[in-house]
């Protein structure tokens, strides 16, 4: 007799989703599926709009990472205009992208995931949230909140708005950087770096405590996709796409933005609104790959900044042969990326060129199709537009980081459910682990944070005839 366990909604992620776990006749986990239950429709309702509106329109996809959408969209528009943006504009776009990476990674690590890491996967769900962390580990909670604030303020200082600024525009940025703003950011950088390093120093020794999770949290061979620079260094704003395999050997390299569709296909499953991108040369669904912080550290050859370079060496030591495969290490990778981002911001702000008043190129629509790719905190983000002769959008395709990870998340929850869920006896901690593997990817399923403090979660167990045989509630 087969049974289905449903986790609805999945908590402490951004967006709405549910998980179903199907049990076989013996009550053992057969398969688990992640269903994205919300529909947005951006690709359709942007049709007919002038391309200049696209950055701000598509940024509304997300309230956590609007900067990523602004960047990928503005880059697609740069491509439509066929312009090379001024050097200072590219530098400023990089700085604001790092501001977002810092705030988003801090949100994921401290606010959403640290309750599992610090209080324990099986701890009382009534306290398993950021306030519970603040009560028990006040310094770490304060650090996390401060670091997120630093990233958010960096965005506000550059663009005058924390969320959905209109500062990143087709052709560059709307206004140059002032010395005063540069100095404000520089003044707080040392404290931010100290927090990031302190957190890494605390986290690295305790990783071993989570061996069971490391072994089963989406720990499987897969390919990884990410941007790298011309020299193979980690890249978040520009560069080209690279795919590596589980041995960290390059599968394809130097994929230009406009060739992405040659390598990435999008499959549609009937039980989810989230498409399932796959690596075309391998086919569907075998062409599973992962993106995001873990993928970026796996695809790059170097970080290019002193402290992050050392941290990458330590990270690689987790799996000296090949790529780091467990999605549990997304958390670790996020902390390494925060250190990297802070070092790069210091470098960029130290350059006198960043204060240049020349920050915007102007042109009309000069190409009918444009592609923009950047690395969002959660992974590779692709915006692809086609326009008519007047510059109105006639077709749009967005591939969002969480989409790339869809196949991997599904495989990951099946793996963790098989390891921890016992169909005969529902344990809250086991189901929390199924959610926690999703949290590793920090999926951004909509446009706002859904950090449900009270963890409202209802699990229902049905028999094959659809009769309810057990329920488990919390919150």
């Amino acid at each position: 007799m087969t049974q289905t366990i449903t986790i609805d909604p999945v908590t402490r992620i951004e967006g709405h989703s549910k998980i179903t776990i199907k049990l076989d006749d013996d009550g053992q986990v057969d398969v688990a599926r992640l269903h994205i239950t919300q529909f947005r429709g951006f690709e359709k309702f942007t049709e007919g709009r002038p391309y200049q509106e696209m950055p701000s329109l598509t940024a509304r996809t997300c309230g956590i990472c609007p900067i990523s959408h602004l960047l990928a969209s503005a880059k697609a528009c740069d491509d439509l205009m066929a312009v090379a943006i001024p050097a200072a504009a590219a530098m400023l776009r990089r700085v604001i992208n790092f501001g977002q990476l810092i705030q988003s990674h801090a949100l994921s690590f401290f606010h959403l995931s640290s309750p599992d890491l610090l209080l324990g996967m099986d701890s009382d769900p009534a306290n398993r949230h950021i306030l519970g962390v603040a009560a028990k580990f006040p310094e770490l909670a304060r650090d996390g909140i401060w670091l997120r604030k630093f990233g958010q303020q960096m965005i506000e200082r550059l663009s005058s708005k924390r969320i959905h600024p209109a500062w990143i525009v087709p052709g560059g940025v709307a206004s140059p950087l002032s010395e005063a703003v540069r100095d404000q950011i520089l003044a707080e950088l040392p404290q931010a770096l100290a927090i990031a390093r302190k957190t890494l120093d605390w986290f690295k020794p305790v990783i071993g405590n989570f061996q069971a999770e490391i072994d089963s949290f989406a720990n499987f061979p897969s390919m990884f996709l990410g941007l790298v620079g011309p020299d193979g260094a980690i890249e978040h704003y520009d560069g080209h796409l690279r795919v590596v395999d589980a041995q960290r050997k390059i599968v394809v390299d130097k994929i230009e933005a406009r060739d992405y569709a040659t390598y990435i296909g999008e499959a549609v499953e009937p039980d989810s609104y989230l498409k399932s991108p796959y690596f075309k040369p391998v086919g569907y669904p075998a062409g599973l790959y992962r993106v995001g912080p873990l993928a970026r550290l796996n695809v790059c050859e170097r970080m290019g900044t002193p402290l992050a370079e050392q941290e990458l060496a330590d990270f690689r030591a987790l799996q000296p042969e090949g790529a780091v495969l467990s999605s549990f290490h997304f958390h670790y990778a996020r902390l390494v990326e925060i250190v990297y981002a802070l070092e790069r911001v210091a470098e960029l702000l130290a350059s006198p060129e960043i204060l240049s008043r020349d920050v915007r190129a102007t042109a009309g629509p000069n190409r009918r199709e444009g592609v923009g790719i950047s690395e969002a905190p959660r992974g590779t983000l692709i915006h692809n537009y086609r326009i008519d002769a007047d510059g109105l959008i006639i077709w749009a395709n967005l591939i969002i980081a969480t989409g790339h990870n869809n196949l991997a998340m599904n495989q990951g929850i099946t793996q963790v459910a098989k390891r921890f869920v016992d169909g005969k006896q529902l344990a809250e901690g086991a189901l929390n682990r199924v959610e926690a593997v999703i949290r590793c990817y920090d999926p951004c399923l909509s446009c706002s944070t859904h950090a449900l403090g009270e963890m409202p979660l209802r699990i229902e167990l049905f028999d094959a005839s659809g009769a309810l045989i057990d329920t488990c509630e919390r919150g």
Partner: protein, 236 residues
């Protein structure tokens, strides 16, 4: 010398020239009356009905932009009754087309948005119509987005009364009315348009905008006609 009229607006006794409208006098005396269709330098048509005021002894509301002052008039500009109607008008305007401030070139510089904020319109009680109106981006310098148009006809009057071209016209009736260029041709193919940009700079919303503007970057040059008129009167 015009005759001087004495009247009361919002409880204040005011002296003004005969022939002035209630709106002219209120503006001269810094008394706020909302409007979207009236524009300094253009004729008044009383299209938006937002400037409706109460006049003692008159049973119905009167448009301040199209009502000339008379001796002893007592005008109330901000009663619960007119407040209710103004709010309703703004709500209906918002529900009628597709006004999405967050993605609009005029965000932060839009008269409809400012008015909604001032009147406390944070939602509408009417269902949105979501009409499918096509953007006209055929002009080399300007965009026309009818989704953001409130049919104030400022563009039409500026084009006719100041530029003398009369490119803009109203097509259709009632709720199906739309602004069109010439005989409903694409703006870029208009034989009469001189590309002077006056229509763009009198538009109270983001319906008419300069190309290349990103969100919030369309800042109208509001004093364009005051300047033009003073140049003409001085004979230069």
């Amino acid at each position: 010398m015009p005759k001087i009229i004495t009247l009361k607006i919002a409880g204040t006794e005011i002296k003004a020239d005969e022939g002035s409208t209630i709106l002219d006098v209120a503006r001269t005396n810094d008394i706020f009356i909302p409007t979207l269709c009236s524009f300094k330098g253009l004729s008044n048509v009383g299209a938006c009905r937002l400037c409706m005021v109460e006049v003692r002894g008159v049973p119905r509301l009167l448009p301040a932009c199209a009502t000339t002052i008379v001796e002893g008039m007592d005008v109330t500009v901000d009663s619960p009754k007119v407040g209710k109607y103004r709010k309703m008008i703004v709500e209906l305007l918002l529900a009628e087309r597709n006004h999405i401030c967050a993605a609009c070139v005029s965000n932060g510089h839009c008269e409809l948005q400012a008015l909604a904020q001032r009147l406390g319109v944070h939602h509408t009680r009417y269902p949105y119509r979501y009409p499918r109106l096509k953007v006209d981006a055929s002009h080399v310098r300007f965009n026309y987005d009818p989704n953001r148009c409130v049919l104030c006809t400022r563009c039409m009057r500026a084009c006719e009364e100041v530029e003398g071209a009369r490119t803009w016209n109203v097509m259709g009736r009632g709720i199906n009315s739309v602004m069109v260029t010439d005989l409903h041709q694409p703006w870029g193919e208009s034989p009469s348009c001189t590309s002077c940009s006056k229509c763009v700079h009198v538009c109270p919303t983001g319906a008419l905008s300069e190309k290349g503007c990103a969100v919030g970057e369309m800042v109208p040059r509001e004093n364009v006609f005051t300047y033009l008129k003073s140049m003409r009167y001085s004979g230069r």
